[in-house]
């Protein structure tokens, strides 16, 4: 490539933009209730599934779900991972300390909710661990009002 030596190998093209998404009435109510430290789910009158975060149509039997029920704030870890990286715009960066993530079955729910678990050690994070939701205080009226989970009791 001596005759065609590269002058510019690549150019960096940033792409910055903002979308305004409507969350819809179900997620809107969910966020409002988080602000008063309540986790609300919807129940399907057909199959009995209790789904959180709430949405309108039951994935199981396709019925409209409109019965609102409070679930949690305690629940049980049903799946977990210890993250040794976090992703920053798709780039893996070391996480120190590691991040503990879990899929949690809140008391009264049938679906699993993803959450971060704090105030325990990675070795203690196991299926069956009882955890409770910790809410942001004061509330900020967004999804992060359910801030994280900690071991219960």
């Amino acid at each position: 490539m001596a005759a065609q030596e590269r002058i510019v190998a690549s150019v960096v093209v940033p792409f910055d933009y903002t979308y305004n998404y409507r969350v819809g009435p179900y997620l809107e109510r969910y966020i409002q209730e988080l602000g008063v430290k309540k986790i609300m789910a919807v129940k399907c009158e057909g199959c009995g599934n209790v789904v959180v975060p709430p949405r309108k149509i039951c994935g199981e039997c396709k019925r409209v779900m409109d019965e609102w029920v409070e679930v949690g704030p305690a629940g049980t870890v049903e799946n977990y991972t210890v993250g040794h990286v976090t992703l920053n715009k798709g780039l893996a960066e070391p996480a120190d300390p590691p991040v503990m993530l879990a899929l949690i079955k809140l008391d009264g729910a049938t679906s699993l909710l993803a959450g971060e678990v704090r105030r325990t050690e990675p070795a203690e994070l196991k299926n069956g661990l009882r955890v409770k939701a910790i809410f942001a205080d004061p509330a900020e009226n967004n999804l992060s009002d359910l801030d994280h989970f900690e071991p219960a009791g």
Partner: protein, 385 residues
């Protein structure tokens, strides 16, 4: 079906972390090479099916600047945004429609050098919930799926390492693989760092630049073009729920449905007995047993036993990914097309050191979405039938 469709040729790049050239040049060279094999020009192609990702290329309608280098300008041309397996399905159904006799599939990604595949996946997340919270990303979701399978069936990390080591050894027999190690051992895999437990770096697909081209033709045309067409006998696809918290991650009902549809079309009633080799898109090591089980190649929950007994080795009962699969290279949009191309290489006896003896029927699989939410299955045979 009255009409028939076959694959008559394939070409792939040498997959890499950085192809070192613009996407357009990569595609031009690759397509020119395939046309050269057949003494064709772009005017011999009735329909072009391109496959690339708008978000990855940073352009709405990613194929706009690909049409020219592949010769699709002023021709019948269309594009698939999902994985390349769907581009193959689309091209096959266009030929089966009776309107076209030849189709060129061109699938590519610069996920190694141009853009980050994990960010592409971030933008598949529900924007009003999961993307807001940033708890779920591609590797963390995959880690949950791995845990689900391993807990359900009592599989240990050591078996994950065995599967990954086998794939890295297979990749060493594939001249196009990006990541390969001829003497890979489970210990070598276990020595790589964790991303999200239990997944280590060598359990996960490498970020890859690469492309794959496939030439498809209708029955008579295929026989004009080659003495050894490989027949597409079955196609199936299926998608399941997006919501990880409502899925049984230890199995893949959508891959099972996709396989059932493809098998029914192909007359496969006993996949274990009738299929000689499989190429599955397992982006993360634990997905190989989940997908193979959904495809009926092994019993449910047998991932550990299959690894221990070497049943999926190139000379095993049911060779899986003799190419090294997604662990050897995973150019995002092209990956499923590459699985089909690797089946083509096997069935034409041109797979070199990775050749499975007497391969007559193969199954290729492609996926898209979180934890393989969307699955495609394609059955290929040597016999016209």
């Amino acid at each position: 079906m009255d009409r028939k469709v076959a694959i008559v040729g394939q070409a792939q790049t040498k997959h890499s972390e950085d192809t070192g050239m613009p996407r357009e040049r990569m595609l031009f060279e690759l397509v020119k090479g395939l046309f050269g094999q057949f003494g064709m020009t772009r005017h011999d192609i009735d329909t072009f099916v391109l496959c690339s990702n708008d978000f990855e290329t940073g352009r709405t309608i990613s194929n706009v600047f690909e049409d020219t280098p592949v010769g699709a300008y002023m021709k019948d041309e269309t594009k698939v945004e999902a994985d390349g397996a769907w581009a193959v399905m689309y091209a096959a159904t266009r030929i089966l429609s009776g309107i076209y006799d030849t189709a060129l599939v061109v699938a590519n990604s610069l996920g190694g050098s141009e853009f980050r595949p994990y960010l592409i996946m971030d933008y598949q997340l529900n924007p009003t919930y999961d993307r807001q919270l940033a708890l779920i990303n591609e590797p963390s979701a995959a880690a949950f799926q791995a845990r689900s399978y391993m807990d359900k069936y009592g599989m240990t990390d050591a078996y994950l390492d065995m599967i990954a080591a086998r794939l890295l050894r297979n990749a060493a027999r594939n001249p196009n693989a990006l990541r390969a190690k001829a003497d890979a051992t489970p210990e070598y895999v276990a020595g790589s760092e964790y991303l999200y437990e239990p997944l280590r770096k060598l359990h996960c697909y490498p970020f890859t630049d690469g492309a794959c081209v496939l030439l498809l033709a209708s029955g008579e045309k295929a026989k004009d073009l080659t003495d050894s067409p490989i027949w597409i006998k079955g196609l199936g696809d299926s998608i399941e729920s997006y919501y990880l918290g409502e899925r049984e991650l230890f199995r893949s009902p959508s891959a099972r449905l996709a396989a059932e549809r493809a098998y029914k079309m192909a007359g496969i009633s006993d996949p274990k007995g009738q299929i000689d080799v499989a190429e599955v898109s397992a982006k993360f090591t634990h997905q190989e047993p989940i997908i193979c089980e959904a495809l009926g190649l092994f019993p449910e929950g047998s991932g550990g036993e299959v690894a221990e007994k070497g049943l999926s080795e190139i000379d095993g009962d049911m060779p899986v990914c003799p190419s090294g699969g997604a662990l050897g290279a995973y150019p995002f949009s092209a990956a499923g097309a590459i699985r089909v191309a690797e089946c083509f290489r096997q069935l034409t006896g041109s797979a070199g050191e990775a050749q499975v003896a007497n391969a007559g029927t193969a199954v290729a699989h492609g996926q898209d979405g979180f934890c393989a939410q969307h699955n495609a299955v394609i059955v290929l045979t040597v016999e016209e039938g």
